[in-house]
């Protein structure tokens, strides 16, 4: 395998550089610009796969910006680790895979979906910047850097949500802006609280010397509140339906991945930064409660929706609940005897669900976008009979809908089963709620399928352009692959990611050089 130690830095730098080259290339030719953006997205995907493969087969990768020996560990006693360190462990590489794959699908889809105009170059610029923000958030080992990438991600997402500039889009973008800004300022405040005590910004180095004082607990609360706000967990979910439903469909799929980057940050902070000495259980229970509320309220709000993308946005909230539930149960049990038996299974379920959700929810949003592209409406009452002509779209929608409802052989089944099993051991009520939510999810997607694709032919529409179908096909392929070989995926990708979260000592040792 061709592997270079600079890949982590290139993976962040490449989309960043390409983003600003895109408008320049646009002046020369629009076709060249499309080819350039696609080439960058494909290269990025390959880089991340290469990096992930390296992380899963070897060990944690670190890269110190501007150091003579960028891969070496920083001795704690010699100097303060003041440089920005990129640290990629199993979980970070796993999240990187999700972001790169969703961005690739969204990029391909956008070629036909976004109508050609002068603003299209700006659209791609923001899309690449958004990718850089996500990858940066996931790969960084530095708290302040995390804040900077979080802001890059929020600003570009808001710009893209408001891309169409109609009243709803501006409202959605404004809500998202306010929420993400307050969340980012909370994060900065928490970072400052930690810096005040330890003079450190590096996650691993802080975790190494963490004293668990009162101020640390305040910082933890700020972190959890901020990232829960950004990932759309229930008490702070109200921005999600507005922003998700009004953004262009490709961007909505990206937004799902962006919310999961915040979810990753939440897990990183609660597992790695805090941990061993703090009582896990309090924060674990808090995350479980967030999860249960998100699951149930999300799905019940989804049932009466008439706007197809709003409905899916509420499902996105509901599915985020599953991830919080799975990982929260893992956090609750961390450190106890039970962790090695079913605690880790719960975490695997939660983490597996992250990637599954990004794939099938991305696909569903893309199919909703395809319907919007042909009909110009998101209202379910005005649809009907699309299955007659839009055959591929309806097949893709069906696969996505079955996957989200947890029907075998699609990927949602595998991760949900893991969550049900593991949660049942903790408390049967958790599993019962999870299953009930799953049934309601199926019910609501049957409603959508029936009203959009079944029935007599009402609209004389054609199938959507090939690039949009190809974008959907990328995600469908991953869904089916994960659904058919869940064992392989869990053992080779999900288990290392779960272990990386649980084993905070390895993360610390990689930076400080032997704990």
């Amino acid at each position: 395998m061709i592997y270079n130690e600079a890949i982590p830095a290139i993976a962040i730098g490449l989309p960043l550089l390409a983003a600003f080259l895109t408008p320049l290339i646009n002046i020369a030719s629009k076709k060249a610009r499309n080819a350039f953006v696609l080439a960058i997205l494909i290269i990025e995907e390959l880089l991340v796969i290469l990096l992930a493969w390296h992380v899963f087969t070897n060990d944690i990768v670190i890269y110190t910006m501007g150091a003579k020996n960028p891969t070496g560990a920083i001795p704690t006693q010699a100097a303060v680790p003041i440089r920005i360190v990129l640290e990629i462990d199993g979980m970070a590489a796993f999240m990187g895979l999700i972001s790169a794959t969703v961005s690739l699908a969204a990029g391909i889809y956008s070629i036909a979906f976004i109508k050609e105009s002068n603003a299209k170059a700006r659209y791609y610029t923001l899309l690449l910047l958004m990718l850089a923000g996500m990858i940066g958030m996931e790969f960084t080992g530095d708290l302040f850097n995390l804040f900077v990438f979080l802001e890059i991600l929020s600003i570009t997402s808001c710009g893209l949500i408001a891309y169409r500039q109609h009243a709803d889009a501006v409202e959605g973008a404004f809500k998202y802006m306010v929420i993400s800004n307050i969340a980012a300022l909370f994060v900065l405040f928490a970072v400052a609280l930690l810096y005040a005590q330890y003079d450190l910004l590096n996650i691993a180095a802080i975790a190494h010397v963490m004293q668990y004082t009162q101020l640390d607990k305040i910082a933890l609360v700020l972190f959890v509140a901020a990232f829960a706000m950004k990932c759309g967990a229930v008490p702070m979910h109200f921005w999600a339906p507005d922003s998700y439903s009004t953004a262009p469909a490709a961007i909505t799929a990206m937004l799902v991945a962006a919310s999961q980057a915040s979810l990753y940050a939440l897990f990183r902070v609660s597992f790695t930064l805090y941990g061993s000495l703090m009582s896990y259980q309090t924060i674990g229970i808090a995350i479980i409660i967030f999860g249960l509320l998100s699951m149930f309220i999300g799905v019940t709000m989804a049932l009466p929706q008439k706007d197809i993308k709003r409905l899916m946005a509420y499902h996105a909230i509901s599915q985020t609940g599953y991830m919080l539930l799975g990982v929260g149960v893992g956090l609750y049990l961390l450190g106890s005897q039970d962790f090695n038996t079913y605690g880790i299974k719960a975490m695997e379920g939660g983490i597996f669900h992250i990637i599954n959700h990004a794939m099938y929810k991305g696909l569903l949003f893309l199919t909703a976008g395809a319907i919007y592209y042909r009909l110009g409406t998101r209202n379910l009452n005005e649809m009907g009979g699309l299955g007659h002509t839009m055959k591929f779209t309806s097949i893709f929608f069906m696969i996505g809908a079955l996957a989200i409802a947890g029907i075998p052989p699609f990927n949602g089944f595998a991760s949900k089963l893991l969550i049900y099993e593991a949660c049942y051991k903790v408390s049967p009520i958790l599993s019962i709620v999870a299953m009930l939510v799953s049934i309601l999810t199926l019910a609501s997607f049957i409603k959508v399928f029936h009203s959009a694709f079944m029935g007599p032919k009402l609209h004389d529409v054609k199938e959507v352009p090939k690039s949009m179908l190809l974008g959907m096909a990328v995600l469908t392929f991953v869904i089916i692959f994960f659904g058919v070989f869940p064992g392989w995926v869990v053992n080779h990708i999900v288990h290392p990611a779960a272990m990386a979260l649980a084993d905070k000592m390895a993360y610390i040792a990689a930076v400080t050089g032997g704990a």
Partner: protein, 118 residues
């Protein structure tokens, strides 16, 4: 006790900002609230790096009689603050442009001027 004044100010600024964001209906006031929170956080960062009688952390410009690095203020929080201010400007500009668009569509700055959606 006098040294706590900056921290009390920080807490007040953040509280006032949050109040404005949560309870004000005018969008411009919400934007102002965000800016106030941001100022509070920036002030907190700067206060962390302050040292009484400290000078700017430039080694080549060290006045006689000042020991380095003890007599200097911390440079890192200042760098953080600078970054945060730059980000804040970008965010504020974008927020205000959204408000402009909102006003164009709704002819109102009241956040309740649009129908509520479930």
């Amino acid at each position: 006790m006098i040294w706590n004044i900056p921290f009390i100010t920080v807490a007040l600024l953040i509280a006032i900002g949050l109040y404005a964001v949560m309870f004000k209906r005018n969008l411009i006031k919400i934007a102002i609230g965000i800016t106030i929170i941001e100022s509070g956080v920036n002030l907190f960062l700067i206060t962390l790096g302050y040292r009484e009688g400290g000078i700017a952390p430039i080694y080549t410009n060290l006045p006689p009689g000042v020991k380095a690095p003890e007599g200097m203020v911390l440079p890192v929080p200042q760098a953080l603050t600078l970054t945060s201010i730059v980000i804040g400007v970008a965010v504020l500009a974008l927020t205000l442009s959204f408000i402009m668009k909102f006003y164009e569509h709704n002819k109102s700055l009241d956040s309740h001027s649009r129908r509520l959606k479930g």
